[in-house]
Symmetry: C2
Subunit: 348 residues, 2 copies
């Protein structure tokens, strides 16, 4: 009792950043269980419990004030999103999500109806994606709302796609569009500020519903996983885009020991997002690269798959894989090259 156990004179976490901290904490971890096939370092861990079916496991922690603001996020949407972002990680391994556990920390501010609304959203997501809610933990909280979801999934051993399989000359592809969820967040934030102190403010959401939907109710790209399979394409590397394209492509380059060239004019950008970015004086390309929360897929595949790839709706070839010494490069519209930078959470 002579001292609080929180250490004094210590190193601020911001000196490492989120990714640095995780690397630092996990670098010496060596699996000892024969059933652990892949531990830390991909969208999901991979376990082998003695048959051809592998078990995938991923987890996501959402904290009020960091990941969501209940001033503009309905609890049902929040529940839906909290579940879907986990499913997205399982699909990103080329697997199928099967079960989740849900842990909630709930402060006194919340009533039974609030938690019902949150659960309604979680249940809706589970229904749509065919996933079972199999357990969890519910606790009082001193402060805001805490949501921790862990998801299990399955995949045949030979189907699993890691981040480390990208090869030189592979095509780099993304799905949907990028930066839209971020622009949805900007819109919500702007309207929150407008509405502050003015309960009757008319909100300027008309014609921008898609941006809100991308932010508030993202979907996991199960459809693309199915279409790639139908087309007979197995990506060489894959992950979902939760922290922004720049961070994610750097993960693939790092783990696959390669470089890449991404072409600015190939980045899929939604026109509503572009219009709003213009209106708000933001650079839409920066938003597309670093915005985060799009939950689209980023994958690489063999150049021989080009013909099969082109007919698949909502898949965009944005560049190709290069030798590691070239680094991860963005080629601008004018041909100028710049190195891609990781962003991740800077909230520390």
């Amino acid at each position: 009792m002579h001292a609080n156990y929180v250490i004094m004179g210590k190193t601020e976490i911001s000196t490492l950043g989120e990714f640095g901290l995780i690397r630092h904490l996990t670098e010496n971890i060596k699996p000892v269980q024969p059933s652990t096939e892949k531990g830390v370092g991909d969208d999901a861990a991979v376990m082998n419990y003695g048959n051809d079916e592998r078990v995938l496991m991923t987890t996501d922690l959402l904290l009020e004030g960091i990941h969501f603001n209940l001033e503009y996020v309905p609890l049902k949407h929040l529940g839906y999103k909290a579940a879907v972002v986990n499913f997205s990680d399982i699909y990103a391994m080329n697997g199928t999500p099967t079960q989740i556990t849900v842990s909630l920390g709930i402060s006194k501010r919340f009533g039974v109806e609030d938690i019902e609304a949150l659960y309604d959203g979680i249940r809706l997501a589970c229904e749509r994606y065919g996933v079972d809610l199999v357990g969890g933990d519910t606790s009082a909280s001193m402060t805001g709302l805490t949501i921790s979801i862990t998801c299990l999934g399955t995949a045949k051993a030979e189907d699993i796609i890691y981040r480390n399989g990208a090869k030189e000359h592979n095509l780099v592809c993304v799905t949907g569009n990028l930066g839209t969820a971020y622009m949805g967040l900007q819109l919500l934030e702007r309207e929150r500020l407008v509405a502050q102190g003015n309960e009757k403010a008319q909100l300027a959401f008309e014609g921008k519903e898609y941006l809100l939907e991308r932010q508030l109710k993202p979907e996991a790209r199960r459809d693309i996983i199915a279409k790639l399979r139908e087309a007979g394409i197995k990506p060489t590397a894959m992950m979902d885009i939760s922290d922004g394209l720049s961070s994610e492509i750097l993960h693939i380059c790092h783990q696959s020991n390669c470089g890449c060239s991404i072409y600015e004019d190939k980045l899929p950008i939604d026109y509503q997002a572009a219009v709003l970015a213009e209106e708000m004086n933001l650079n839409i390309v920066t938003c597309a690269l670093n915005g985060g929360e799009d939950y689209e897929l980023l994958f690489t595949c063999d150049i021989n798959d080009y013909e099969k790839l082109v007919p698949i709706e909502d898949v965009y070839i944005i560049g190709h894989i290069t030798k590691p010494e070239y680094g991860a490069v963005l080629v601008g519209r004018n041909g100028e090259e710049m190195m891609l930078q990781a962003q991740g959470w800077q909230a520390f």
Copy 2:
């Protein structure tokens, strides 16, 4: 934006309590995945991915200010305990813990060294129990420390023990001793109050180290699981004691549709805990029944196992299972009977 999405005029969660809320939220959940063998309602969920080995899954959320107080809990101990309480749930299904994911929400108050200390504890627990840390999520937090751990384990299908298998005339057994972790917490709380405003206060922990250990560094009863197996005893129902014996035996009675008679004079109580309770004017039997955090095992087994059971160290027969209409009864030293009451977290 016209209203915060937290619902107004709502039902306070305290009207349901923790167990009531969980029941309310999960009562309509029906598994659809063929791989889900047992969902909500036991120490762990049970999945069948197509071979004889079942996958168990459990999760635990620990929140600063609710589950721990960093004024007297060293971060390394906290990490150790956060992992072990999950292992305990897997052993309580008669399984073996194999993998965990660890999610942390970290406020600015914490430095890299703090999180290293926490991780050291988690890693130590993993090493001792042969469990792999395979993933997680790390995030900034607006307020205190959040720790969410999910644990996977395995068990052969025929070995799994649920809460619903207790039968009339079965013996009711517990391991170790009860109420000790709670007395450890009382001791820490008392010394915290004594030390407040007095940095040099001599702490009266001498001779009470065991109580502190039970609170700060609990172990999962892997040893008992092994001994029961060696002795050829398969309990009919089992769970771990995290919320106090009363709550837990009521879960078994409810799920097994039975009653029970528990004998006050059979409850295993540590003498140091009893002395401190006396000193602090607490009823040690109440502490043993409702204290929580002992992480001992509670199980029922066939009366024919009696001879094999008696030689096993640290296992205590405290009563027997009765017909459901008798309810869950505590028989006092004087022969008086009282009904057992569930406690659980009252923090809402």
